[in-house]
Symmetry: C2
Subunit: 565 residues, 2 copies
């Protein structure tokens, strides 16, 4: 062997193969061995829901290189000179001897291999609730290729009529869409009071309202027991005693870092339950690196460690580890701002940075938030709605986070805010952002820039907003106030909140200002469809001496509650 570096990689999904491939590119002579517990390699696991839903039919597409070649052991050897052992589990790491012990799960054959550098990419394992009946036929997770095969078979057979998805997070919602496309009636069951906890409540409620047009949603309720007959699932019993008949249950209540091997080897584990690594992706053992879903990493805004099991980050981490095991610690992965997105039927739902909730948990209290709604491009180009919640630090106006939802181009909006956070930009920077404009792609003032404009107005005290949640609380508690809708009568006829509001179209407001209460300290909440006209109306009222005027942020479009019309 001599100078040949021996590299072992544990895990063959995303981060592991990336580390191995990067190492190979930097050292043609290294001896690289990859152990993969399951049968497949480099699975595009984020694509499972679309395979299950029938967006595409060729299973191999989940396993292919961009050129259409299945990434099997032969491919890894021929194209990358990586020795990949599938169906082979690493059962022990011996850090003193610098060896791993492994076992072929089909043949039971065992072996030991030596390493100079080891990369652990053991991934995550789905959480399973300790509920009676978990062994019934018809209960699955959506984590492995085997799970995807199981659910795809259900799609193809078309026999199952009702399913429950347990967990209203990202995977739960994606699974819901996939099964809906397979013609299954779905009920999502979530223990918390909202879906998608990376969103703040108002945003989550808007998504929930939309999801309810496609499936049932049960919140603040868990599954107490799985019910069955002859070993087959027939329903679930909820914690409140309700029973829901179903033939399929998908458990999607989150994942935990798979750290068994690392812990047994005595590697340091972090507070969030993931393997502790440096920015070089190095564990507490200098010769062992760890990447992907099995580690925890810093959130770059809060500074707090998080478990961020995202496929894109796994690849970036793998690239860094692959370079460092060959070249020494020259490359770094600094951390995450937890940018994420998912497709929810025809909506995009995304977030980057901190939600208001996450910012407060991190001890940031000097923050300002704003909800803004607009089209993504002009109406004449079939523009679609976007709703953004922006969170900023109040003093400097630093961007802390953004959540964007709607049928519009959410992906671009999230990318813009993610880059703003990466560049440590402030609201004052964003008001003059120079983004690509043409009618097929955006409004003349892009939705993100308009959001920054309103936030700047808010920080300067020109815009006083109220969130729909706060407004609803005031209405529910019968706080005396005047609600003013400043749209046109025809708009009012088509759609309205119906909360006892007064209609004064913006164009008539100056003439009809005397119709407002005499008491200039009356609480007034003003709005329109998206609250642009609402903002102008508030300014007119304020110029006429009204001191307690607030604009309903995002207008009727961001109202997550029932409307009269």
């Amino acid at each position: 062997m001599g100078n040949t570096k021996r590299i072992i990689v544990i895990g063959g999904s995303a981060a592991g193969p990336k580390a191995a491939a990067r190492a190979r590119r930097l050292d043609e002579n290294a001896e690289i061995t990859l152990f993969q517990k399951s049968a497949d390699l480099s699975m595009a696991s984020c694509g499972y829901p679309y395979y299950i839903g029938g967006i595409f039919d060729d299973r191999n597409q989940l396993l292919c290189s961009p050129a259409g070649v299945v990434r099997d052991s032969k491919f890894f050897w021929n194209a990358k000179k990586i020795n990949s052992l599938v169906n082979t589990e690493v059962v022990r790491i011996d850090r003193k001897k610098k060896t791993v012990a492994f076992k072929n799960l089909l043949t039971e054959e065992q072996g030991v291999a030596e390493y100079d550098k080891l990369v652990i990419a053991s991934g995550s394992i789905p959480k399973r609730p300790p509920i009676p009946g978990m062994s019934l036929d018809g209960i699955t997770t959506l984590q492995s290729m085997a799970d995807a095969d199981y659910l795809r078979k259900i799609h193809d057979e078309g026999k199952i009529k009702k399913a429950v998805v347990i967990g209203g997070g990202l995977i739960g919602i994606e699974t819901c869409e996939a099964l809906h496309l397979a013609g299954v009636e779905i009920t999502i069951i979530e223990l918390l009071p909202q879906l998608l906890t990376f969103l703040d409540p108002q945003m989550a409620q808007l998504v929930e309202k939309y999801v309810r047009t496609k499936s049932n949603v049960i919140l603040q309720n868990g599954v107490a027991a799985f019910l069955g007959e002859n070993g087959k699932l027939t329903g679930v019993k909820l914690q409140n005693g309700d029973e829901i008949p179903c033939e399929l249950a998908v458990v999607a209540i989150g994942v935990s870092p798979n750290i068994t091997l690392a812990r047994e080897a005595g590697l340091e584990i972090g507070a969030r339950g993931g393997i502790k690594v440096s920015e070089y992706m190095q564990t507490s053992d200098d010769d062992i690196y760890a990447v992907g879903d099995c580690i925890e990493i810093p959130n770059l805004i809060s500074g707090m460690n998080v478990h961020a099991p995202y496929g894109d980050l796994a690849n970036l981490q793998g690239r860094v580890a692959g370079e460092n095991i060959i070249k020494g610690n020259v490359a770094t992965f600094p951390g995450t701002i937890q940018t994420g997105i998912c497709k929810v039927f025809d909506y995009g739902v995304g977030a980057t940075g901190l939600s208001e909730y996450a910012a407060r948990v991190a001890g940031m209290n000097n923050i300002e938030t704003l909800v803004n709604a607009s089209l993504d491009k002009p109406g004449f180009m079939q523009g679609k709605l976007l709703i953004t919640k922006l969170v900023v630090e109040r003093e400097k106006g630093s961007i802390l986070g953004a959540q964007v939802i709607g049928p519009g181009d959410v992906s671009k909006q999230i990318a813009i805010w993610a880059m703003a956070i990466k560049g440590k930009l402030t609201v004052d920077d964003m008001v003059n952002a120079d983004l690509p404009y043409a009618p097929p792609f955006s409004l003349a003032i892009d939705h993100s820039i308009a959001t920054a404009h309103i936030m700047q107005n808010k920080l300067k005290g020109l815009f006083t907003g109220i969130s729909s949640l706060q407004f609803k609380e005031m209405l529910d508690s019968k706080t005396p106030l005047l609600a003013v809708d400043v749209r046109n009568p025809d708009e009012f006829e088509q759609m309205r909140l119906g909360i006892g509001e007064k209609l004064i179209p913006l164009g008539q407001l100056r003439k009809r200002i005397s119709e407002l209460p005499e008491d200039k300290n009356t609480g007034i909440v003003v709005y329109c469809k998206i609250s642009l006209r609402g903002y102008e109306a508030a300014l007119i009222m304020q110029a006429n001496g009204y001191t307690q005027v607030k604009v309903l942020e995002g207008g009727i479009m961001a109202w997550p509650f029932e409307r009269e019309k």
Copy 2:
């Protein structure tokens, strides 16, 4: 009047109304008058091509507020208390008396109005070449609502069969698409050797190749004369003597800042022909501000002033001027990175920052460039091609500019790079960018991040690229070299350059390395479809001692020349 501020705005398209509206929002009592030479106000002029092409049919949509109300004088008065005089031209500014003299173009009525603060938003005027026959019927520009009406009528009547578009810039290309949709056969005539000069040649050639599938393109040739019969256009005569029959000619050779009023008033004019303004949008007269297409502004990367007639910037500048005329100079517009995008049939074509050409003109020579091609999202999600040219400063790796073209999601890519430049990010920052990933929206390693990865490899000396232009020059000059295509035989059968290349699939390269020339200093250019496998092959060759191996950047997908297949 007393303390009431008198504000006059000249120009009612984008920047002017924005300045007026912002001023109103900040001062309910200001007396605001807007003069507009033409009949319409707040026209969405960037939407003209889509109205002409029949993407939408209701002309009012070009003039409407988001709520569907036409922004006419009545709207401006009722909703914004702005007195807007249409069909009214300001003919003179008297800076001493602080007045403007105006004339109603329909009634010939004249008047004089006093201002405390004046905003000039006089826009731009289309350049018209001094060519015989310019007065023939059938020759137009695409600048005004009247032009749009004229061309829409042509669409609706469907009589015209052949048209020429003079000028292969942004407006020319958009017009070409609009007329193509109207069933007209188009010939684009461009004086320069390429279309779309904001792109570097290779990128422009790729767009040209695509445009040629929809229309004729003539480069390096101008119109010498318009030919006519009975006052009607019948064709154009080119500078090389060729004649092209046509019934319609659209002149789109660019626009100049409309500075007549400003120059006559003695305001300072900049080197690029636009009104000179500070970052407050203030002209050389403290009481006069100027915004929009009539000014010049700094390019934030080169520091050189440019004329940047973009609708989005006009709005941002209007907002800044509107605030400053009310509040004093509190708001700034720092400049532009010249981000732009246009739709070219089913392609997006965009750029931000400096092209390689623009960087070199600005005296930057220590730069590195890269062309990268990939899908925008996975193949199984119907991913579409993106081709990016990235330009960076070599020392620190600062992002200087990016050009992106293709049927993929160009808009998001350009937004990402525009934000990277705004945040003064480097390639090292971009390699770990945290962007929204899910298969419906992007690849696990987003195209922009993959581009940064390859650029980082290039800066580190791991990747030695060659552009298609350089490679073509070597081929044309019969430079001795070996071209190696490392795709699979079936791919080679479907599509190939046919330049005498040798086919060695990547997976066979290590075994067949002896088939390469004995002389390890032989020049080798290696590639695949997008040059990812090409890169891996180059590393294998280098590890085997070959010293002169280059990767064809962007692979076959970024090859703008003829292919054998």
